[in-house]
Symmetry: C2
Subunit: 368 residues, 2 copies
């Protein structure tokens, strides 16, 4: 049977190995497995949110409130904007999907950093759009400028801070760049890890209200999957001017958020102390990874997120390191498929990180 031609170019997304698979494949005891591959919040979901969901579990038979009145209201207060500036998605992923599908076809161009969130390209290819990438792995605004001047773009992606590398542009530089972008180009500012960047360095902080007010062609994306510890519940949001939101709404399927996910997100916004506390601990633990890398003599990218990218240059092969860790029950992300000889490790809890250092010592020793 014939499907749309553009799909010929689309590869099927391969997810990371779930814990169950590692247990099955390598016979590692499930208790010994440490998964630091998906940038989940290693401190788990806030106990208050968990308690709320236990109380509401009996409501699973009921469709969610599709107007999402309460969650939008809470976000509107948090960001000091109107509900009409907000769209909720099944993760901020789904807002990416709406935006790319609402704007692009085979004649469109997407401009992004060479090594950035994989879904920008995947959703882009679903529409047949041309993908244009900078030469540098990390965000380089001079290269964005040059490519934009040469090719134009229907959408520009800025991942602030960037996944999977961890770097973050200064907000001042971003604003300068945005002034040079045509109002017809949609700029997606992906703030999935913004809570971490804003905590570490004021200069990296994006004020969502300010940026979408000054630049009506910007949509800001946020998520409950990282700092808010609800990766499994699939809730993200887009903040933009009403015109953009209205157009993205045309692609939103009804009931795109589950009944329990809506309740969990609303509850998570009430427990900001939990979020601050886990962010603080994240950077205390990250310091240990930096020290470890320095001691071991390989480089890392200073990170504004809840993960760190360790670069092996020509010392080790990242795929081998990742595979050796996996056999010992430690799941991290190898970045070979991104064209980088590096691994990305989610910053875990203290005892998890201690174990990672021990096993990494073993692995690097064995690969020497």
């Amino acid at each position: 049977m014939q499907f749309k031609k553009v799909l010929d170019e689309v590869k099927i997304y391969e997810a990371g190995k779930p814990i169950e698979l590692v247990v099955r494949e390598y016979g590692v005891d499930v208790k010994d497995i440490i998964k630091l591959a998906s940038n989940e919040n290693p401190y788990g979901t806030s106990p208050k949110v968990t308690a709320k969901i236990q109380e509401l579990a009996k409501n699973m038979f009921m469709y969610p409130d599709d107007s999402m009145f309460e969650l939008k209201d809470a976000l509107a207060k948090k960001f000091d904007m109107e509900s009409s500036n907000i769209i909720i998605g099944s993760g901020s992923d789904q807002i990416l999907e709406f935006a790319i599908h609402a704007k692009c076809d085979e004649n469109s161009k997407l401009l992004m950093s060479k090594t950035t969130f994989a879904m920008y390209e995947i959703y882009g290819k679903q529409t047949g759009a041309t993908i244009i990438k900078t030469e540098d792995d990390q965000h380089n605004l001079e290269q964005f400028r040059k490519l934009y001047k040469e090719n134009g773009a229907d959408i520009i992606f800025l991942c602030l801070p960037n996944n999977p590398l961890g770097e973050c542009l200064d907000t001042k530089e971003v604003y300068k760049f945005l002034e040079e972008v045509s109002p017809e180009t949609l700029v997606i500012v992906d703030g999935a890890y913004q809570e971490f960047a804003a905590f570490k360095d004021e200069n990296k902080k994006i004020d969502a209200k300010d940026i979408i007010s000054k630049f009506p062609n910007v949509i800001y994306l946020g998520t409950f999957s990282k700092a808010y510890a609800l990766g499994g519940m699939r809730v993200g949001y887009g903040l933009a001017n009403k015109e953009i939101i209205k157009n993205l709404y045309k692609l939103r399927p009804p009931f795109n958020i589950t009944t329990l996910s809506l309740a969990a997100a609303i509850e998570a916004l009430k427990d900001e102390d939990f979020v601050s506390e886990t962010i603080k601990r994240n950077f205390e633990e990250m310091k240990r990874y930096e020290d470890y890398a320095k001691t071991r003599g390989f480089s890392y990218i200073p990170s504004y997120t809840n993960f760190i990218t360790l670069k092996f240059d020509d010392k080790y092969i990242s795929a081998e390191v990742a595979q050796s860790l996996l056999k010992r029950g430690i799941i991290i992300r190898d970045l070979t498929s991104y064209g980088v000889n590096a691994i990305r490790i989610t910053i875990g809890r203290k005892e998890q990180n201690t174990r990672v250092f021990e096993v990494l010592d073993e692995v690097l020793e064995s690969l020497n």
Copy 2:
């Protein structure tokens, strides 16, 4: 900002009124509200499933197993097929979205019954495809044949049984029709309410394995939202030959099902007794609606689902009946927007239905 031209024709989906809104607008006490508008399972989620989710609620921070190994395995066993014949969606809605978007553009044609599930048309319009509908409200295969001969179609939709009217074609007739359809036309057999039809009448039962084996251009859709009482958790599935599944997978976003939804669906499949029991009760209670309609002297469509459509002909105006019920705290679905002077009522629990009859008596009296 310019978005894709086809979106100009797309209307934003308006969801039914949530209970909270009725409380706010009409000042009805939340305890007195009866919502029989969305064909949820009125007996609630199986207590076994609820207990499982309470136990797993603490896992909300973790991304789901994106391979969905366990759920696919359970479905494969239930339907006696391979995991590679299965795709899981955020409700069977999302499988519709994948199928329509994978196959259609502005040059495509979609053939469907005049009054059927609204999302067929909405997803169709997102691609710019032409919508072709039969003249009769209820599925009429002669009209499908005629229109297919005249226009062809990229996708044909058969809703078996049909939402929102409740009627169901005989499987024998469906098979005869399928033999006349080109292998290049995708036929979507929407079995969202099949569990109910199969219970009521053997002649309406679709054997998913048999139909996709005999007709490689058929995809069968099922859902956990209705008989399995998980409407709020957004889990549905498509069953088809591997080639179709592979193509739909290209549009599947990663992690399209929440961690708790996956667990709930797996658990729900273990409690088939709960499902059978609620289906049995559904038809006992439906009998009371049929008797009520007969006594009151208006007609209804014999239903193979968990809802019943009451037709008012020129006796009452359905919008007025629905509005009067709403003011008294009873939420049902007015079918005016479908071009039918009728209301659709989900078959509730015994005491809910008794109350509906009382209030409906009052309302009809007042409208006489």
